[in-house]
């Protein structure tokens, strides 16, 4: 896939390039600030944009703002936002108009190269990749306030978190050392507890679960 990288720290930018190229992807542009991002995306029409949140000129959240613009202006381009620190509000902003082709990960996840590349590929393929940290915040918060979440077993809560991260049943099964069949059963119980209609589509179920976790 063709990728645009936006990251102001040269070492990380170069590291990202190396990781992506080693994974067999083409980096069409590697830029250092958010203003150039819109141009690069318009010019190169990449499959995926990987961007840092904090970038020049103000070093606040321009990466996120640019990512949200790309999502509305180029719906076919997948966006993965990286950050030193993840929070629920940014995830909500990114997922406000659907959970497809979007990712939000801690920057340090790059180090686990295989998982990182798998996450990027899943997002570029139309899926979702949310950081375990931000999902933990969402599940933790829901556990204090939502009886449906409280009623789940510990294992079901684990499955719920992985579903919310955007993982497929196969990936969840591998991660938890379960059979895919067992995962399907857990997911179906979660759906029943949440009062959601059964849906086998991985993309749509992320949306449903995230919406459920973030309800007030």
């Amino acid at each position: 896939m063709r990728v645009v990288i936006a990251e102001d720290e040269a070492l990380i930018r170069r590291g990202l390039e190396l990781v992506l190229e080693a994974g067999g992807h083409e980096v069409v542009a590697a830029i250092g600030d958010a203003d150039e991002m819109a141009d690069a995306v318009a010019r190169h029409r990449p499959d995926l944009v990987v961007t840092d949140i904090r970038m020049p000129p103000t070093h606040t959240d321009e990466g996120l703002v640019a990512a949200l613009r790309i999502r509305s202006e180029h719906p076919g381009t997948a966006v993965v936002v990286l950050s030193q620190h993840v929070q629920r509000r940014y995830a909500k902003d990114l997922l406000a108009h659907g959970t497809d082709r979007v990712g939000y990960l801690l920057k340090q996840r790059i180090a686990d190269v295989d998982t990182f590349l798998a996450d990027l590929e899943r997002v570029a393929g139309g899926g979702t990749a949310l950081d375990p940290d931000v999902i933990a915040v969402m599940v933790g918060r829901a556990r204090h306030s939502d009886s449906a979440v409280v009623s789940l077993t510990a294992r079901q809560q684990e499955v719920l978190a992985l579903v919310a991260e955007g993982r497929s049943n196969a990936s969840i099964a591998a991660k938890l050392f379960l059979t895919e069949k067992a995962v399907v059963q857990h997911v179906s119980r979660i759906y029943t507890a949440f009062g959601l209609p059964p849906d086998a589509d991985t993309h749509r179920r992320v949306h449903a679960v995230i919406r459920f976790l973030n309800r007030d």
Partner: protein, 582 residues
């Protein structure tokens, strides 16, 4: 004058030096003139009396001057003494002095009138007095002139330009008539003043004015009567006259220092003195006692913290207030009682005087109170600054410890592991490298937490609302977050301060409150940012009980805000802050 010079020593010493010089010069003048007098002549020792009277004027005048530096009477008495002196030097045989004596022979009269009309302030307060005094001085100088100009047998023959003694005598009569008319007018003015004066002042004014008028108008007539009718020995007659004249400065000085108006001047002194810096309570009491002439006087100050009146030694006034022998005068400033004067009612019968003194004292008392307030708030400010510095110091140490004990150790172990992997059997390298990566991940996570605690990313990237939400999102108990604050409008200082209060309050809830839920509210009302953190826990928290809120309270107060805590045992804890942000 024991207490006053303490506050203005330079000025007071300077005044004293000047007065000593005047005294020395006067003594010199007196001795010189006495030396020049023809003491073996027919008038003999009688001639010495006038210079001595001059000395009495100077001494009396200087005493008045020293005791009442802001009153001009002392100066006027000394000047009147000079006029008497000028009249006296005509008795010498030195031509120059004779000439001066001839010109100013009758100046003592207008000078005495001047004293009378200027009493007690030393100033001629109305136009009529000024005209009268000027006219009298003019009459004394101008109408005296024919006496030496037109009569070669007159007081100074060298000045004579014509020999018409009859004209001279006629003009002399005119002078007497004019002077008499003017003296009648002076008497009228003084009479009016007497009528306007209150009873207390009249007691002093009547004898003084009578003495003055008697001296100026009737002394010459009585001299004639004594001479012609009673045939008194001229030497005795002269001595009597001189005694009367010598009494004038003494009368004025006594009137000034002992009379009721004396204190008007003295109160001015008090006011001036209070204007000087650094007056504490005891000197204030002493100054007031001295001014009002009541050594038993006591001054009470309103003690805000105890809600009662206390004197300088901290005693209350309860028993003496009902004592009929003691007077009581409240001191108020802007209708607020700030103290009271307790005095001897028999000694000080003039309540108005005490009242006036109280008004002057009020400003000093109030200033003393404000100074104390200012000092207290300055001390509080210094303490708060110290605490802020200490808190920053503690924070730095804690960061250093976290880095050193946690991260540093982890990194050393990870470096060791990396080195071992280099020499590990090939088939285990992949697995051990992955484990190394995972350990590095957890070290990075630790750094992330550390950095988040120091400078929350959300606060930098978005603002307070986002950061507060992130904080509440991560609470291990049910947390409701409400905010009507949109990020981007508040200053960094306001946001950071409020954020850390929230972080500390939430940490306390988790650590101490044993609460099951907490509610956080952020609101922007009337230019003030309000934060409220309310839990349903055990309560009993306080600002000082090691909650870490004390240090934050200093930061909140440093930006003009307030922090409060309400934590009744068993009924939850509420912490709220208000910070101006307009």
């Amino acid at each position: 004058m024991s207490a006053a010079p303490r506050t203005q020593p330079a000025l007071s010493r300077s005044l004293r030096r000047a007065l000593v010089i005047i005294a020395l010069l006067s003594a010199l003048l007196m001795i010189t003139v006495i030396g020049l007098l023809p003491l073996d002549g027919p008038a003999g020792l009688l001639l010495v009396v006038l210079p001595i009277i001059f000395g009495i004027y100077v001494v009396a005048g200087l005493i008045a001057w020293l005791r009442r530096p802001s009153n001009r009477m002392g100066f006027l008495i000394v000047v009147a003494g000079l006029m008497v002196f000028i009249g006296g030097i005509a008795n010498t045989e030195v031509p120059v002095l004779l000439a001066i004596g001839a010109v100013g022979a009758t100046l003592a009269l207008p000078a005495t009138v001047h004293l009378l009309l200027a009493f007690p302030t030393g100033r001629l307060s109305d136009r009529r007095s000024r005209v009268l005094v000027t006219a009298l001085y003019a009459t004394s100088l101008v109408l005296q002139a024919p006496e030496y100009l037109l009569d070669p047998d007159g007081s100074y023959p060298p000045f004579a330009i014509a020999d018409v003694p009859a004209v001279s005598a006629a003009i002399g009569t005119v002078q007497t008539v004019v002077a008499t008319v003017m003296m009648t007018m002076v008497a009228f003015v003084l009479w009016e003043r007497l009528r306007r004066a209150d009873a207390g002042h009249r007691r002093v004014l009547i004898p003084l004015f009578s003495y003055g008028i008697f001296t100026v108008v009737f002394l010459p007539l009585i001299a004639i009567a004594l001479d012609r009718v009673f045939h008194v020995d001229p030497t005795v007659r002269g001595m009597l006259q001189f005694a009367v004249v010598a009494g004038i400065p003494i009368a004025f000085t006594l009137g000034l220092l002992r009379g009721g108006f004396a204190r008007t001047g003295e109160l001015e002194e008090l006011g001036t003195w209070l204007g000087a810096a650094g007056i504490s309570r005891q000197p204030l009491v002493d100054a007031l006692a001295r001014t009002l002439g009541d050594p038993s006087l006591r001054l009470y100050f309103w003690a805000e913290d105890r809600g009662e009146l206390l004197d300088a030694e901290g005693r209350t006034a309860s028993e003496s207030r009902t004592d009929p022998r003691r007077g009581w005068q409240e001191i108020a400033l802007e209708e607020r009682a700030i103290g009271a004067i307790e005095y001897d009612a028999a000694l000080l019968t003039d309540r108005e005087l005490v009242h006036t003194a109280g008004r002057i004292i009020a400003i000093a008392v109030e200033r003393e109170r404000l100074t104390a307030d200012l000092r207290a708030s300055r001390r509080a400010l210094m303490r708060s600054r110290e605490r802020i510095v200490e808190a920053a110091d503690r924070e730095r140490r804690s960061i250093a410890r976290d880095l050193h004990d946690g991260l540093q150790v982890q990194l050393v172990l990870l470096a060791l592991e990396a080195q071992q992997i280099a020499s590990a059997p090939a088939q285990t390298v992949a697995e051990r490298a992955t484990r190394l990566r995972i350990d590095l991940d957890s070290a990075a996570a630790e750094v992330r937490t550390l950095v988040r605690d120091l400078v929350p990313a959300a606060l930098v990237e978005r603002g307070l609302s986002a950061a507060a939400e992130d904080l509440t999102d991560r609470m291990p108990i049910s947390t409701v977050f409400e905010s009507d604050v949109s990020d981007g409008g508040l200053s960094d200082l306001v946001e950071t301060t409020t954020y850390f209060v929230l972080a500390e309050a939430l940490a306390n809830v988790v650590k101490h409150a044993r609460a099951s839920s907490v509610r956080v509210r952020l609101a922007l009302e009337e230019g003030r940012l309000r934060l409220s953190v309310e839990d349903d826990g055990a309560g009993g928290a306080s600002m000082d009980a090691g909650t870490g809120l004390r240090g934050l309270a200093d930061r909140v107060e440093a930006i003009g805000g307030t922090i409060s805590i309400s934590s009744p045992p068993g009924a939850g804890t509420r912490v709220w802050t208000e910070v101006p942000c307009a």
